[in-house]
């Protein structure tokens, strides 16, 4: 089928989706932390918080990989920049205690600068060369964070920065436990709503970007850079913009991460982390916001859910046969392979991409 014949139908479907489903989904997302808190306890709400953080990161990487088609294997570097920016300016390390509303934009801006710094020399590179350079860049940032404790102590080296100021937004202190009409609202739920706000903004921004002039230009570059350039698109600036935009998301989530954890160290920013975020984007469905969100939630919750394997073994066999921490990752790896084999285009692929795949067959 030609592309124009399928497009209007899709639009119509989206508009006519019953309103109650949307409201139902919204109510579910709002009620989720309270229900989880009561049923599964604090630990699981914390996992949800981290899932939201990963959604933010995955949405950021989606701009670079999904929209502009630039394979970035060092994305966690921007996360690290944002986190250390927050950590250094809101902790006893330099005895600075700046507020969140100043540090988040600062972290975002700094990450964007690093994005441009990474993008400028790599623009001429083809796909896989770009991947390895971004990978190297991520490692360089991590090695610097690890070693910048001598001769001048900036990052405190492998020990990391601790005692970071807890998050607070104006009069709303997130580490306090509030009581709303008899319902307890502890730190983890407060953080959930702060992160949720960030995710909602990020989804909105991604959605607007996708359908904007810039988004269409990125799609053109992704599909055929040469053709895009000959249509008069300034591919250099557009690619830099994609890097900077993606990095901004990383910087913001880094700041939120540092404030939530109260502690950052280079160990949180390894290549494995970049790879995991990339898996979320690809597995969920590159370029499709719903898919990316699904992938991020799934891959961040799955390893935690698999922690139950130890208990399951005891229940089934009466003793632990296999070290649960190894088994957890083993099952995770197998699941990753199987999911990809069954749906190579991702769980919820972008509609344009799916059309391409089925047309070419």
């Amino acid at each position: 089928m030609a592309y124009w014949a399928a497009a209007p139908v899709k639009r119509y479907d989206v508009k006519m989706r019953p309103r109650f489903i949307r409201w139902g989904a919204a109510a579910l997302v709002l009620a989720l932390p309270f229900v989880t808190h009561v049923v599964l306890g604090q630990g699981w709400v914390r996992i949800l918080d981290f899932a939201l953080l990963y959604v933010l990161l995955a949405l950021g990487l989606n701009i670079v990989v999904g929209y502009a088609g630039l394979l970035d294997l060092g994305y966690v570097a921007f996360f690290a920049v944002g986190a250390y920016c927050y950590a250094l300016f809101a902790s006893p390390q330099f005895d600075l205690h700046w507020p969140l509303w100043a540090l988040l934009p600062m972290g975002a801006l700094l990450a964007a600068c690093f994005g441009v710094l990474l993008g400028t020399p790599t623009l001429g590179l083809r796909g896989d060369y770009l991947a390895i350079v971004t990978l190297g860049f991520g490692e360089i940032i991590r090695i610097f964070l690890n070693n910048l404790n001598a001769p001048v102590n900036i990052t405190n080296g492998p020990q990391g920065v601790s005692l970071i100021d807890p998050l607070h937004v104006g009069p709303w202190f997130l580490e306090k436990t509030y009581h709303l009409g008899g319902i307890e609202v502890p730190l983890v739920i407060n953080v959930y709503f702060l992160f949720l706000l960030a995710v909602v903004l990020a989804v909105h921004l991604s959605h607007r970007l996708e359908n904007s002039r810039i988004g269409r230009a990125w799609a053109a570059i992704r599909e055929d850079e040469l053709a895009a350039a000959s249509m008069g698109l300034n591919t250099r600036n557009l690619k830099l913009l994609a890097f900077a935009m993606g990095a901004t998301f990383g910087g913001v989530s880094g700041g939120l991460f540092a404030g939530f954890q109260g502690f950052v160290s280079p160990e949180s920013f390894t290549l494995q982390e970049s790879v995991m975020i990339l898996c979320m984007v690809v597995l969920g469905g590159m370029g499709n916001i719903a898919g990316v969100v699904l992938g991020a939630v799934l891959l961040s919750v799955l390893p935690e859910a698999l922690r139950g394997l130890g208990g399951l073994q005891e229940f089934l066999f009466g003793r632990i046969w296999v070290d649960p921490s190894n088994l957890r990752l083993l099952v995770f790896g197998i699941a990753l392979v199987l999911m990809m084999l069954m749906r190579p285009e991702g769980l919820l692929p972008a509609s344009a991409r799916q059309r391409e795949l089925h047309e070419s067959k």
């Binding site: 394979l71 060369y129 390895i132 860049f137 690890n146 597995l283 995770f332 392979v337 285009e345």
Partner: protein
């Protein structure tokens, strides 16, 4: 000057190991345009298998030379089977899938291999039995140990054999044809599926040897040892121009030398500001530098963009 030569020798040793692993990356990339993320873990499996066999054989009192040969042979056989299995399970079903899909299955397999190794061999470091001669020779103050000599000679030999195989045999011709254009190669009667499987097998065999070398050189083996090595080797392959066999060799040697010299001199060059813990930065900076000025790597042919 002594330090310079000594670091050069150390770098060449490390570099020839990098080169062997890089060949595996570059062959697979040349044929399928795919980064085989699980390759580093194949190296690890090779090292661990060889260590186990060696420990068992030396325990039974088998002479060390024989034990080493058997260990290498077993490691190669296991890795070849593993390479074949990886290709069959993770890559062949995705041959027509979007480009990033096999990357994810490769990452998944890499996790699986590491965790399986942790389950089989545990998380502790296995030590390499002392089966290798500890003799060394000294020349103008430069010390070359027997292990270093052995590694360099063996790696050179293997690379020469590989080059002969690819350039001179019918199989090598089929490999080159598949790399150039799989569809046309198939029309010419090349069984491309078999050639791809064969490429994985050769790469894995080289990886097994490299794994034994690393374990012998550093005297240890661990289930995480493949990761950084794989990363460095892939960097080396890109440095030399990915898809290009002599490029991978050159890139590997160069990366090893740069790393060793960087570790030796970075403190003096920066007045003690940066220590040798920045040696990895050095390797990546060289890579980025080369790619900026020569985007296709040192020996890579300039790929024309198709309209």
């Amino acid at each position: 000057m002594d330090i310079f030569l000594q670091q050069l020798v150390n770098g060449l040793t490390l570099g020839s190991i990098y080169a062997l692993v890089a060949l595996g990356y570059t062959m697979v990339y040349g044929i399928m345009e795919l980064i085989n993320f699980a390759h580093g873990d194949v190296v690890m499996v090779g090292a661990m298998v060889a260590l186990t066999v060696l420990q068992a054989l030396t325990g039974w009192g088998v002479p060390s030379g024989v034990a080493l040969a058997v260990a290498v042979a077993v490691a190669m056989a296991v890795c070849m089977a593993l390479g074949l299995a990886i290709e069959r399970v993770a890559y062949r079903p995705l041959r027509r899938a979007p480009k990033l899909a096999p990357l994810i299955t490769a990452i998944g397999l890499s996790i699986v291999l590491q965790q399986l190794a942790a389950l089989i061999w545990g998380r502790s470091y296995l030590s390499f039995p002392s089966v290798l001669p500890t003799a060394s020779m000294s020349w103008h103050g430069v010390i070359i140990t027997a292990i270093q000599g052995l590694i360099i000679v063996l790696a050179t030999l293997l690379m020469a054999i590989l080059l002969l195989l690819v350039k001179r045999t019918a199989l090598g011709r089929a490999m080159r044809a598949t790399a150039q254009n799989p569809a046309v190669a198939q029309l010419m009667g090349v069984n491309t599926d078999r050639i791809i499987a064969f490429t994985f097998v050769i790469g894995s065999a080289l990886a097994a040897v490299a794994g034994v070398m690393v374990a012998a050189y550093y005297n240890v083996g661990n289930y995480t040892m493949g990761f950084m090595l794989g990363l460095k080797a892939f960097t080396a392959a890109v440095l030399g121009g990915i898809g290009n066999l002599p490029g991978a060799m050159l890139g590997g040697l160069l990366l090893g030398v740069v790393e060793a010299l960087g570790a030796g001199y970075i403190g003096d060059l920066t007045g003690g500001f940066f220590g040798s813990n920045y040696k990895d930065v050095f390797a990546f900076l060289v890579l980025i530098g080369v790619l900026i000025f020569h985007p296709n790597g040192l020996l890579g042919s300039r790929a024309r963009e198709k309209v």
